[in-house]
Structures are given as structure tokens and as C-alpha cells.
Amino acid sequence: MSQLQVKRRTLLQGAGALTVLAGLGIRPGETLAATDKLRAAITGYNAINTFDPGKASLIPEFYVIWSLYNGLLKFDKDMQIVPDLAESYTTRDDGSLEFTLRKGVTFHDGSALTSDDVKFTLERLLDESFASPNRSKVSDIDKIEIVDDLTFRIYTKKPFAPLLTFLTNARTGTQIVSRKSVEAAGNEAFGRAPVGTGPYKLVSWDVGEGLKLVAHDGYFEGAPTIKSVDIPLISEEASGVTALLGGLADITSTAPAADVPQLLKNPSVKVLRQPGLNVRFLSLNLQKPPFDDVHFRRAVSMAFQREAMVSAVIFGEGVPLYGTIPPLLGKYYVPGERTYAKFDPQAAKEELAKSAYKADEHEVKVITWGGSWWKRYAEIFVAQVNQVLGTRFAVEVTDANAAYAREKSGDFQIGVWGWLGMIDPDEYMGDIFSTDGWRNFGKYSNPEVDKQLEAARTTLDTDKRAEYYHQAEDIIMNDMPVIPCFCSNIHNLVRDGVDGFVQKPYSNFGDQFANMKVS
């Protein structure tokens, strides 16, 4: 009997202690003091499988890789390609590229960077048995020839225009690794104990939780001011916002579009945003009715308002898209509406009349998934098209992984889709619209387009290359194998008192820690 009383008392004491703890407790704000420490939250993702650039493929993996390594080249804030590890490069008469490396660059383990490390890095990607997800970035390289410790030449099988883009410290996988460290550790272990030349070194990594970086004092651009970086992985974007507002994070890698209007009014947060390098379109299966009919495809494309989509789906955080190239790709982008890529209910109905199918002849399932705004995207599309054309479209909700698997296997009629983080026009057109392109899910095929895309891929002169893409895009937008919808903004949230972050349209995040200041 007395046992019970003791129990109760203990419990009450516990509760009392808790209340005191809460009352006197450390306020969350108190942890803000350190100026040499940054808490950079990766939000909206929480899987990281490797820090080996040769094996990396997920955006959060690259967020970290960008601070651990360098590329031969990099993008500056105006998206111009500038030297990184390579001091300079020239095109030789035989078409090869000759690179000269910076002097005095050291890896995290103290060893010096040489041409041999570059050769090793690229040949490792090319090696079929290594099965790199990034192999396509270098697959046109024929050989790498070492001239001396700091000079080497890259030969390609044929002129390969995207190569310079693919050698940058972006989502490429061509970041330079240390031959010595990879060979000592083996490929598998290297992914967890990375050795690069970048401004930060990996200290620890807890799966599903986050990781810690510490400054590389021997960094060739000087030791970074921020000495340590904590990177929590926050899978819910909304939780990332509350972490930042609660003073538990200094910067986030993304922000939920729906929260942006509110956050813009909050003086303690800076919202960095710009149109990102991404395209959001409706992927059509050209081998199944009704989208095997070009008139039906054109009719649908003209039956919804892209502006309404931008405001209702992503709360104005983006721009309508009428082509296949995102606006931030400079001269490759052609602005403005197109004949069949615009909202025109009358023309849509006329086009439908030419189609072999009646509006409600086929029941059409629009595949989408539950995360973020993707479901709303499909719903608003379906509502508009059904109203304008009298079609029988319906939304089918699954999850992202299943949607992707169905797109790849051709088990779909139409689905919301998009690509992001890609930086070369070839990635937005070549693989998607070439007959044998591996991301050509709808099995589109037009020999004229194939010809133009191949020409663009092998033309080094950027003006001429842009022209090829424009011609290909014109044909594609007449055939309408995908229906472009919009390009969404990218966001970073930065706590007041944190400066120096330069945002780039491919959602750079991790490559800025060394330039940042915390007060």
C-alpha cells in the first residue's frame, strides 16, 4: 500500500521538476551566440547515401559535396563558368581541352592535388564496373592525357558542347577526388569518409539526423571564417521553417511556397528567391490513347491557364512556361507564348474537333503524388481542362517513387512531371526528346528533332548551339509531346544576422558556407 503512495509522490515530484525546468529552462535563443559556427539545415529531404561525387545523385548529397570538394570549374553568381581548381583552360587545334591546375592546392589529408588525381577521378566515372549514376556527364570523353603534374588534356570522341558545364562544381559528380584516399579506403568506405580539396571536411554523419563539417584550414582560397557547420536533415519543409523561426537554424535549403508570403513580412527572416533551373510539365504517353493524337495534345495544352496555375499551385512563386527550356538558361531560352502553348479555349475546341477522339471518349487518369504542391498542380489542371473541353480527366494520387516508376515503365497516360537542378540545355532537351533518350518516357520520336539535338550537342559555339535548340524547340512545341506549365522559384530562408549567402538558380546551398558570416 505504501508503495503506491511513494509512486505517486515520485511522479508528482517528476512533474514538478519538469515545470521548474520549463520555467528556468534555457531559452532556445541562447544557443545563437557563436559567430564561427553555422547551422545550415537541409530541408525537405533526409536521405543521404554517399559523399562520393562519383556515386552521388540526390540533391542533398550534392549540397554537402559542394563544400567538401571542388570541380575543375565552377559557376559564378551570374552563372558564368569560371576557373575553380583549374587555373586556366584552352582549346587546342586537335579539339582537345588543355587545363592547367592551380599551384598549392591540398586535399583534406594534406597531400597535393596533381593531374593524376584528375585523370583518376574522370576515368573512375568512365569505368562501367563502377556504375556511376553520373557517367553520362563524361561518356563522350575519349582519354585524359597527363602532360605534367599540373597540366593535362581531355580528348573527346567528337565535339562535346556540354563538357565544360559538366566539369563544374554543380550537380555533376565530376568533383575531384584524391586517388590516394580512394585507393586506400575502397569505393564503398570512401563514400562515408570523403577526402576532397573543398573548404570543409566531414567530421561526423548520423543517418537520418544530420552531419557536421569543420573548416579545412589548408583551403587554397584561405581558411574559412565559419569554423564549423552543423547540417541537420529536416524532412518536413514546414519543420524547417519552425526551426529557423525558433532560432535553431541559420539557413535552410528550401522553403514551402505556401509560407513565403507570410515569411516575407517577418523582419527576423530574409527570404532569398529567384526562378530556379527547373521545368514543370505534363508528361504524356504518346503510345496510348488519347495522347497518341497530336490534335488532342494541342487541345489540352490550350485548355488551361498557366498563370492561374502559378498563382494557385505555387502561390505566385514562379513563372509560366511555354517551352522546354527554363528562363535562367540565358540565350537558350525563348520567351513568350507559342501557337499551341497558351490559354485559348476557342482554339482548343477547334483543335479537339480535328482529333480522332471525342472529348469524353477516354477516361484519363492524371498521375500525381501527395507531397508539397504536386497534388494541387494536377487538380487545378484537371479542373480547367474538364471545364473547357468537357473531357473526363481525373486525378490519381500515388507517391513520388511509384509515380516515377510508372513513368519509366510507360504505365501511364499523363502525369505531372518536371526536372530540376540541371544546368545544361542538353539535359533539358537531349535526353527528354531524342528518340533514344533515356528520359523520353512518352516515347516521342521525330527524326528532324533528333538531328537538331545531335547538332546542338556537338557544336561548341554557343550562339550556333542556341540556334539548334531553338529550332528543335519549335518543332517539339508543335508536336507537343509534353505540355509545359511553369518554372518555380527556388528559396533559401536566412536568419537575420547571417550574411554572405549568394543564391544561384540551380539551388546551390552548400557551396557558400565559406563565404558566410554569422553575427
Binding site: 519538469l18 549514376p133 513520388a400
Partner: protein, 338 residues
């Protein structure tokens, strides 16, 4: 004569004791066998469901830019090209030897067994924390309500309980974050501290998530306790105690509460499975790296070994808790001990 009778009585008692002990052991053994069977069936169901669902772990692990060659290499490397039954059997065989398999996509290449301990600690800590809060709150609310039946305090406690039952945990989580976290700045809005590293900090950081999980449980518990107490108070032995002139407080603690604890604890035991459901949602919102989070990640990434292992862990927790509840109730039952 007297002595002989006593011996016979003692023998009867001893025999009965042995009998009931044997019955208890047999009961436990049956339950254990049943539990293992449930575990195996459970893993099979989840395995087949996941295999039937569209999706591919290679797509989650390698990302949307992965080439078909890389995807094919991944499938071969992880034995995903083997027949479904072979994949299941090899995984089940591993578990018997303490090998939970290798993560496919959540932490590619890492043994799931290495992922578990810290995640399990986080989940168990938050779960126990929530359970403690729920029990403390319900013991106070339920007792007060029962002793003031029909009064203002009872009305207040009952309304609070109805409110608690009706609130979804994810909604309550955000209300707590905005109220106690962002507005009053009393508690951190996000994050987790391991109780092994720093217990006070862990209790502090874990308060909001534990409260979010505890609230609906506390509501159910206090409703149950109130009902059981009121019923017990009207029992003849309570009336008899009153007629002996014992104080109300003494009767309440010694006769009423103890008798009421058995049905109360049964409900507590049954509700523990809801902690696991709550944990999955609340862990995501507060960023607690527990088994719930791991399970959600495993499901979305089609990481079969991770998902199956989490299922086994959750199933095992439910089964163990059910058995413990049965045991505690048997021991607490005054009819057994007296």
C-alpha cells in the same frame, strides 16, 4: 487432529499454487508462440504489400537522374533481381542470426542493425516520456473528477478530456510549436537531445513532442479512470469500509484506487500501440530521429529491409507491452495476492 487438518490445508494451498504457476507458465508460453507467429505473419504481409506496390528502391537511392545502367547495377548489387520468396527468406533467415539486412536507399549500404539502436532509444524515450505525462495527467484529472462527480471540476476535467480525444496529434503539435515554442519561447520548436547524453536537456527538448502524443492518451486514460473509480466507489466493500468509519481519503487510496487500477492499466496497455502511431507523425514534425521517422523514410524509398525491420520492432513492442500488461494486471489483482 488439528495439526493434520492444517497439513492437509497447506498441501492443498501448495498444490493450488503450483497449479496456478504452471498455468501461468503455460499461458505465457502460448502467448510467446502466438507472438512469434504474429511477427512472422506481420513481416510477410508488409513484405508482400511493399512488393505489390509500384516503385523501386533504386529510384530512391540513385535519384531521378540515374541512368538505366546504374539502376540495373544497383538491383544486382542488392539482390533485387532474385525471386520474391528468396528475398524474403534470406531476410528472415538473417534476422534469426541477428542480421537485419542492409539498407537500400535510406542509408545505402549500411547494416540496418547499426541504424537501429540510436533510433530505438529516441522512440522509446519519447514514447515513455509521453506515457508518463499521460499517466500523471490522467491520475490527477481522473481522480479529481471522480471525487467531485457532477461538480464544476468534473465538468472541466471532462470537457478537457473530450477536447483531448478530438485533437489530431499533428494539429496539436503545430499549436504547441506556435504557442509554447514561437510565441512564448518556452520550449525549443525543433530537434532532439539524446537522454543518454544530457537527460535534463533531453526532457526539455522532448517536452512538446511528448505532450502532443500524451494529450489524446491522457484524455482516454482520465475518462476511463473516472468511470472505473465512480463504479468502484459504489461497490459494497467501499460502503462497508465507510460503515467502519474509515476516512474517505483512506478508503479512496486503499480500496477504491487499487481495485480501479486493473481496468485502468488494461486500457493503458491497449493505448500504447497508439503511441507508436503518434510517434510516427510527431517524430517527423519535431525532427526526432526515431524508428517512426525511419519507417516513413523506408516506406517512401521502398527500402524493404529498413521498413521490414521497423515493422518487426513495432510489432515486437506491441506484443511485449501486451504481455507485460497482462502480467502486471495479474499481479495487481487484489484477489490474487490476498
Amino acid at each position: 487432529m488439528v495439526a493434520v487438518t492444517e497439513t492437509a490445508d497447506q498441501a492443498t494451498v501448495r498444490q493450488a499454487g503450483r497449479k496456478s504457476l504452471a498455468a501461468l507458465a503455460a499461458g505465457l508460453a502460448t502467448k510467446l508462440i502466438g507472438a512469434v507467429a504474429v511477427l512472422i505473419v506481420g513481416t510477410l504481409v508488409i513484405f508482400l504489400t511493399m512488393k505489390a506496390a509500384p516503385g523501386d528502391p533504386a529510384l530512391a537511392a540513385l535519384g531521378e537522374q540515374a541512368t538505366p545502367q546504374a539502376v540495373a547495377a544497383f538491383r544486382v548489387q542488392h539482390g533485387l533481381d532474385a525471386p520474391v520468396y528468396a528475398q524474403y527468406l534470406s531476410w528472415l533467415g538473417g534476422i534469426v542470426q541477428g542480421d537485419f539486412g542492409t539498407s537500400l536507399a535510406v542509408a545505402s549500404g549500411m547494416p540496418v542493425g547499426d541504424l537501429l539502436p540510436s533510433k530505438l532509444l529516441a522512440t522509446v524515450f519519447i514514447g515513455l516520456y509521453a506515457l508518463t505525462l499521460a499517466i500523471v495527467i490522467s491520475l490527477v484529472l481522473g481522480s479529481v473528477a471522480a471525487r467531485n462527480r457532477g461538480g464544476t471540476v468534473d465538468m472541466l476535467a471532462t470537457s478537457l478530456a473530450v477536447f483531448g480525444i478530438s485533437m489530431p496529434d499533428f494539429w496539436l503539435s503545430y499549436v504547441l510549436i506556435f504557442g509554447l515554442g514561437l510565441s512564448l519561447q518556452l520550449f525549443p520548436t525543433y530537434g532532439y537531445v539524446s537522454p543518454v547524453v544530457d537527460l535534463p536537456a533531453a526532457l526539455y527538448a522532448g517536452f512538446l513532442p511528448a505532450l502532443a502524443i500524451a494529450a489524446p492518451m491522457a484524455a482516454v486514460f482520465s475518462r476511463t479512470l473516472r468511470a472505473v473509480l465512480i463504479e468502484t466507489m459504489s461497490r459494497s466493500y467501499a460502503t462497508a469500509a465507510r460503515s467502519f468509519g474509515l476516512r474517505e481519503g483512506f478508503i479512496f487510496i486503499h480500496f477504491v484506487l487499487r481495485n480501479a487500477l486493473v481496468p485502468y492499466l488494461t486500457v493503458v496497455g491497449l493505448q500504447i500501440r497508439y503511441i507508436l502511431g503518434g510517434v510516427v507523425v510527431v517524430e517527423r514534425i519535431f525532427g526526432i530521429p526515431g524508428v517512426g521517422s525511419l519507417m516513413v523514410d523506408g516506406a517512401f524509398a521502398r527500402d524493404f529491409p529498413v521498413l521490414q525491420t521497423c515493422t518487426v520492432v513495432f510489432l515486437a513492442i506491441v506484443l511485449v507491452v501486451n504481455m507485460l500488461t497482462d502480467l502486471v494486471c495479474m499481479l495487481l489483482d487484489p484477489r490474487r495476492t490476498s
